[in-house]
């Protein structure tokens, strides 16, 4: 089963790459990039939910990835892929320390530590001058040869990472994480180091978030501290809730829907907030399991009917 899912997933990603490659550069391609990045961010958030924690430091990790890639590009001008990877690694290293120290707390406490951490990191950017202070960093461009292919590249990277996350989730490690969410005492009682497992889980998520950040830096060319406030985590959570966190495709569905809605709502001024807020509120009220939840239910009903 898992294998087949992976293959069909890979197929879908390939298909998307072709689709984006076929598109003429324009607003559409940008939209694709934003959606892809949103998907990855939400997926990172979801991955930490496997151990039952809401990781609001996601925004911080995205930021670290973006600034990591930004510094590597503009200051040290390393090769493109290295920069991207560097961003991810920065996030992982920080995630390792952050997780090791804070994952002893749980639930709302962990959530709000993450929140505080995000704010601190953001404030640090504003005070560090070689990071551009408040006005941020400019000129984070992908290499020329990639200009035309950037959306394809982004979709490909995101797709591959999503499949990787899915594979990890289905692995014994992933099962252990879910077991921890269910009942960490039992997991501990059978000789598994719960704390380190949690930390490892956070690091994986941090890497995904970091790459998402790096990609967004290259897509936007400009980054500023304001981009990585806690609202980013909040929106990621929104994508996840609207899409449905039980299903690995939840982030995809949610991000696609909400980012498209946002681009429609754009230009409504204050109305944009109302519109967006309304979308979130209604979807959590009307479909507690999110879009994927609805689809699955419909699918099962259909199967029952055909069976009967």
């Amino acid at each position: 089963m898992d294998k087949r899912v992976l293959y069909s997933g890979a197929g879908a990603v390939a298909l998307l790459c072709v689709a984006t490659a076929a598109m003429t550069a324009g607003y559409g391609t940008n939209l694709v990039c934003w959606i892809a990045i949103a998907v990855l961010t939400a997926a990172s958030l979801r991955f930490v939910m496997l151990i039952g924690e809401l990781n609001f430091a996601t925004a911080a990790f995205v930021g670290l990835g973006a600034y990591g890639a930004g510094v590597a590009t503009t200051v040290m001008d390393w090769p493109f892929l290295l920069c991207l990877l560097f961003g991810g690694m920065v996030a992982v290293v920080v995630g390792l320390v952050f997780g090791y120290v804070t994952l002893r707390t749980k639930g709302p406490y962990f959530l709000l530590i993450g929140f505080a951490f995000t704010e601190v990191v953001r404030l640090i950017y504003t005070k560090v001058h070689w990071l551009g202070g408040n006005s941020g960093m400019v000129g984070i461009f992908p290499p020329r040869y990639l200009d035309a292919w950037l959306p394809t590249f982004v979709v490909a990277v995101v797709g591959v990472l999503l499949l990787a996350l899915y594979a990890i989730e289905k692995s014994h490690f992933g099962k252990t994480c879910i077991a921890i969410r269910d009942n960490d005492a039992v997991v501990q009682s059978v000789g598994i180091n719960v704390h380190m497992t949690k930390v490892a889980c956070l690091c994986v998520a941090a890497f995904a978030a970091g790459i998402a950040g790096g990609l967004s830096a290259y897509v936007n060319n400009v980054i500023s501290p304001g981009d990585f406030g806690f609202l980013l985590s909040t929106f990621a959570l929104a994508y996840l809730k609207v899409g449905g966190e039980d299903n690995p495709l939840g982030p995809v569905a949610g991000a696609v829907l909400l980012v498209l809605l946002a681009s429609v709502a754009m230009g409504m001024g204050a109305g944009e907030h109302v519109f967006y807020g309304m979308a979130i509120v209604l979807s959590v009220l009307l479909m507690p399991k999110g879009i994927t939840g609805l689809i699955q239910r419909g699918w099962e009903m259909r199967r029952k009917r055909s069976a009967a």
Partner: protein, 248 residues
């Protein structure tokens, strides 16, 4: 049975106090390979605390804990488990949202760290078979009837390849047939793996039936220890505890 061989686990004047309240004090006990040992006592006698102490979930405030002669006082639960000390919990000792197969697999994962998937799967399969759970491997464990859930939680622990298997009231809420089945299963497990089994239980009849040795706790202290017969006839014990029941 054996009892000649030297113990796997030994406690030396171990104890735990919460503020003023003494839960367990100066407890000396040992668990030998392959024995089925009963730990009984009225509510609040300190059974659970003892359990937590020897499984590392609670750090002792006095005394020392030895496994295979090594001082392991204050070691983390997962380390204790890696030394062969596996325990279950009184309430919901499983992962309700996961299937029975996955539940048991977690135990195998704990036991076979760094081994390949197939080995773990095999181990889980084996444990499931030993507990007679092969028929419901793909059910969501949370939806199973109470009796089966008990078996699952034992299976998880057994899959972790225990040398000492500590079961916290595994029989409560079981009907006669289920109960008989569990007792058989426990004996079978012991015979096949040679692990010792420590049983905290309220059901006297069952304890007397299955245990080869019984420790009676009272007010956090060891009141008596010996074969079921001796315990049954021990005045102190009767006075403190059994008396009420025997009267019925």
């Amino acid at each position: 049975m054996t009892g000649r061989t030297d113990p796997i686990l030994r406690t030396d004047k171990i104890g735990r106090r919460y503020g003023g309240l003494v839960a367990v004090a100066d407890l000396d006990m040992e668990i030998r390979p392959g024995e089925i040992l009963g730990l009984i006592g009225p509510n609040g006698a300190g059974k659970s605390t003892t359990f937590n102490l020897i499984s590392g979930f609670v750090k002792p405030s006095q005394g020392r804990l030895f496994m295979d002669g090594v001082d392991v006082t204050g070691e983390a639960p997962h380390r204790m488990c890696r030394r062969g000390m596996v325990r279950t919990f009184q309430h919901g000792s499983l992962m309700p949202s996961m299937t029975v197969r996955e539940n048991i697999l977690i135990g195998a994962i704990g036991a076979l760290r760094g081994k390949v998937r197939s080995q773990r799967a095999a181990r889980a399969e084996h444990a499931a078979h030993a507990l007679g759970l092969t028929h419901c491997l793909d059910e969501i464990s949370g939806n199973l009837p109470h009796g089966l859930q008990r078996l699952v939680s034992i299976a998880i622990a057994y899959a972790a390849q225990p040398r000492i298997l500590c079961l916290d009231e595994p029989l409560t809420g079981l009907n006669q047939t289920e109960l008989a089945n569990v007792l058989d299963v426990l004996r079978h497990i012991r015979d096949e793996s040679g692990c010792a089994i420590l049983l905290v239980e309220h059901n006297m009849k069952a304890v007397m039936q299955i245990c080869e040795r019984i420790i009676v706790l009272h007010h956090g202290q060891m009141l008596a220890s010996g074969a079921p017969l001796d315990i049954r006839t021990n005045e102190q014990v009767i006075a403190a505890y059994l008396g009420k029941r025997h009267a019925q």
